[in-house]
């Protein structure tokens, strides 16, 4: 019994620790987000929140549902597999509200060279030119129709 009395300060200390731990557990119960651990060690609701981000590129199927005439021309030309927004940029806003949001007119003088400026790192068979020699400063759509660009197949303007 005297041992007990002489170690009482240690028991008080232990009580302080236990009390602290209990407070921690209670606080934890309030603070941990409810969906945490649902699928793994993360907040389950996070995926839904990430998936709710607004969309800026409509996707070619959306464009093609309205612009069938362009699609007809494009699908027989060399740009058949090039999606609309690859050149026209993100147009989901236009697809949602076609009349009030209209896409900018593209400047072929700067646009086409992204793909077609000659560079040794580009695949050999890929159509590429040194634009300074090839077009001598003229914009590309002077001679090429972008939706069906090959001149020999009647794509010339």
């Amino acid at each position: 019994m005297s041992t007990f009395k002489d170690a009482s300060h240690l028991f008080r200390l232990a009580a302080v620790f236990v009390a602290g731990f209990l407070v921690f557990l209670i606080v934890r119960g309030f603070l941990v987000p409810k969906s945490f651990g649902q699928y793994g060690h993360y907040r389950g609701n996070a995926m839904a929140e990430i998936a709710a981000q607004p969309i800026n590129f409509a996707g070619h199927q959306t464009c093609e549902s309205c612009h069938t005439d362009v699609l007809e021309k494009k699908k027989v030309g060399r740009h058949a597999r090039v999606n609309c927004e690859a050149c026209h940029g993100p147009l989901a806003k236009h697809a949602d509200d076609p009349t009030s949001v209209s896409p900018e007119k593209l400047d072929t003088a700067v646009l086409c060279v992204h793909c077609h400026e000659a560079n040794p790192a580009k695949p050999r068979g890929f159509p590429q030119v040194v634009s300074a020699d090839h077009s001598t400063g003229l914009p590309c759509d002077t001679c090429h129709q972008p939706h069906s660009p090959a001149i020999s197949t009647g794509g010339a303007k």
């Binding site: 041992t3 002489d6 170690a7 009482s8 300060h9 200390l13 945490f36």
Partner: protein, 395 residues
Amino acid sequence: MPGVEGFMYPNEVELQWSVLIVLYPFLTGLVAGAFILASLERVFNVQAVKPTYRLALLTALSFLLVAPLPLQLHLGHPERSYEMYLTPHRSSAMAMFGFVYLWYLMAVLVLEIWLDYRRDIVLMSQSNTGFRRWIYRILTLGSSNLSEHALHVDERAGWLITLIGIPSAFLLHGYVGFIFGSVKANPWWSTPMMPVVFLFSAMVSGIAVVMLLYMLMMWLRRQPIDMRCVDTVARYLFYTFIIDFSLEMLDLVHRIYESDESFRSLDFMVHTKLYVSHIVVQIILGTLTPIGILALTQVLKLSEMGRKRIYVLAGCLTLIGIFAMRWNVVIGGQLFSKSFLGYTTYKMGLVAREGLLVAIVLTLLPFVILWVLVKLLPPWPERVSGPVPEAAPAP
């Protein structure tokens, strides 16, 4: 790109971990090292270092309290840092470290200090007045039992805590080494030797800082320095340094010999971007010089003045060298590209949240805290006021 040589992945150009993350292992290293020195007396009965025992514990506590601050300042969202305790990711060394830190702070250091000082705390709670009286009274936890048996219980409990504390101190700083050493993406960090190298360099820095603080405090208080104590501490510093240096040389030789994919890039980095901090500051000034001059004190019979001067110089150079080692690991690990094709530059801010000024303030803060602790819990027995039956130092 300014500051970039060769090729770096575009997201690698800016460094992620700043000088604050260099400071953090430096501070925890001092904690571990100071504690190991204290435990030399307590567990291994090295009587000679007894005068530094309490000072070492208080030093460890001061640095441990400041250690989380550089981490908080570097976080993008410090207000969310409690998440590490609420939902720790068990596979993350960083998350587990939060608990190692808490364990070491509460179950080892605070407990040991409390047990060692309890008698003085009770006496001071009775002899002091006003605000200080209340502080001491709270610290007694309401118990004023100073019977011989109660003190004996304290002594035994303290011995046990120190015994547990030694592996805990190893875990504390070894873990920091593991946080770096386990990153397989970074070949400068990824090595099983990292926790061991970190630990031994921590011990070196901790011993050095306690030795310097002891000499400084004795000088400030115009008390004679116990040379037997300081000679012993310096000897331990010397031995630990030899081990630390051998480990680092082993790592270096191993890298040079194996010469794997990363070696050329790292070698170039050490010889150019890290030349001053690694070769000059860490190795020559911070390791070889202190080892050399400490060796002198072992082989030559030098006067007390000569030895004191060497100890002070060795201690200061050691601390600079160990800081440089942390710098070379943390910053060095981010200066080269993981493509091994390029290098970037660390642009350290001055007054920014993670800048040099903040780092300096955080380095000085533990000394301010130590000053407060020394006033509150004097490490030297003659300072304890109140009726003291025996003049013996605390158990």
